[in-house]
């Protein structure tokens, strides 16, 4: 673009640029600015209040010597794996089954999607009631005459992650269902006619033809679910508050605790920087391939 064309471009789009300016300022100062500020703080020795000194990677060394942080990372990995897997499989199955011309389709859709409208605090609290050994299913079953029935997921350190995964799957799989269902409705019916003429069983059509065609939907739902995992904080606080012991600690909770309760701003910002880098390492290739891959639509 030469200088004259550039001037013409600016002149023609001046109003648009002016209209975008407030948003750009907010993004640069509020989003990127705070991000850079917290990265800067992670290299300082800040405790209760931010400090301006520079201690290198001391906070990061300390962070990975903290067993609570290492535990929370392991928990996050376990939760992320099972949550993504179960949510995606369950959501896709629900979408496929709803797409079979069932009666009361809108009823089923509402039932599967309404958890997503609930906040994580509500979801965590209700599941905490249900799984509480003295109030929920275990107590009910024992009252019904099964005195040895045990369902102690929220108080058993080995199983507390299952409880978290259960609540988050309940919350998130409706979103996958909605996205995949929207994609299924966009599939050309001629594809179905063609496969029926060829006599291909429908599970094979879904697996080999339809799901690959829904790649954008699948990537979108996985990205949204991953984001909800990384920022998962409220559901853990509502269900177990990180307990029993540290069995259900997650990184976001570690960051909040150190930032606001334990007066460890340096450690908390180091943790959030590690989390940010992890997210970027995972998200950037995915988003890049989705938007700028050889089949991408963005130019």
């Amino acid at each position: 673009m030469n200088a004259a064309a550039f001037t013409r471009h600016i002149r023609r789009n001046l109003l648009a640029y002016i209209a975008l300016l407030p948003m750009a300022i907010v993004v640069v100062f509020a989003y990127l600015g705070t991000m850079l500020w917290s990265v800067r703080l992670s290299f300082s020795s800040s405790r209760l209040l931010p400090k301006d000194d520079f201690v290198g990677f001391a906070q990061y060394t300390r962070l990975f010597e903290t067993s609570r942080w290492v535990t929370s990372l392991e928990n996050l990995a376990i939760i992320a794996f099972f949550f993504l897997l179960i949510c995606f499989v369950l959501g896709t199955l629900l979408a496929i089954f709803i797409d079979q011309n069932v009666r009361a389709e809108s009823l089923f859709r509402t039932v599967f999607l309404y958890p997503y409208a609930m906040s994580f605090v509500v979801a965590g609290l209700i599941w905490q009631w249900i799984l509480n050994p003295d109030l929920g299913i275990q107590a009910t079953m024992r009252d019904l005459g099964f005195p040895d029935f045990v369902l102690d997921w929220t108080v058993n350190p080995d199983k507390v992650l299952y409880a978290i995964i259960l609540a988050t799957v309940w919350h998130g799989s409706g979103l996958v269902m909605a996205l995949i269902l929207a994609g299924l409705r966009g599939i050309d019916s001629q594809i179905w006619s063609a496969t029926r003429i060829d006599g291909i069983p429908s599970w094979r059509v879904y697996l080999s033809i339809v799901l690959p065609m829904l790649r954008p939907m699948i990537i979108t739902s996985l990205v949204l679910l991953s984001i909800s995992i990384v920022k998962m904080y409220d559901v853990v606080v509502a269900m177990t508050n990180g307990g029993p012991g540290t069995a259900s600690e997650v990184p976001a909770k570690f960051i909040m605790d150190n930032l606001f309760e334990r007066a460890n701003i340096g450690l908390a910002t180091a943790a959030s920087t590690v989390l940010l880098i992890t997210v970027l390492l995972i998200m950037v290739p995915v988003l890049y391939s989705q938007y700028f891959g050889k089949n991408g639509r963005a130019s």
């Binding site: 629900l94 089954f97 009631w129 003295d134 929920g136 508050n241 307990g243 029993p244």
Partner: protein
């Protein structure tokens, strides 16, 4: 054309079992999704003294504190 090609086709037993499976799966998953809603509604209609049974909670807290041999979350005692 009074009938669509789908309804003209004789219904095989395999189709019926297929429909049964579809509705069965949707029904049971719907139960799972509706369980918290049911609990929320039922809890909201209970009287004050049953909701929540705090005495039970305190007994449970003492029990687990003894069993685990460690300090228990003080939220339970605050109740």
């Amino acid at each position: 054309m009074t009938q669509s090609s789908v309804s003209k086709r004789p219904v095989s037993s395999q189709d019926i079992w297929g429909r049964f499976g579809v509705y069965g799966f949707l029904f049971f998953v719907a139960l799972f999704f509706l369980l918290p809603l049911y609990v929320m509604l039922v809890t909201s209609f209970k009287s004050m003294d049953r909701n929540p049974p705090r005495a039970d909670l305190r007994v449970a807290a003492a029990f687990f504190a003894r069993r685990l041999g460690q300090g228990l979350d003080e939220r339970l005692y605050r109740a």
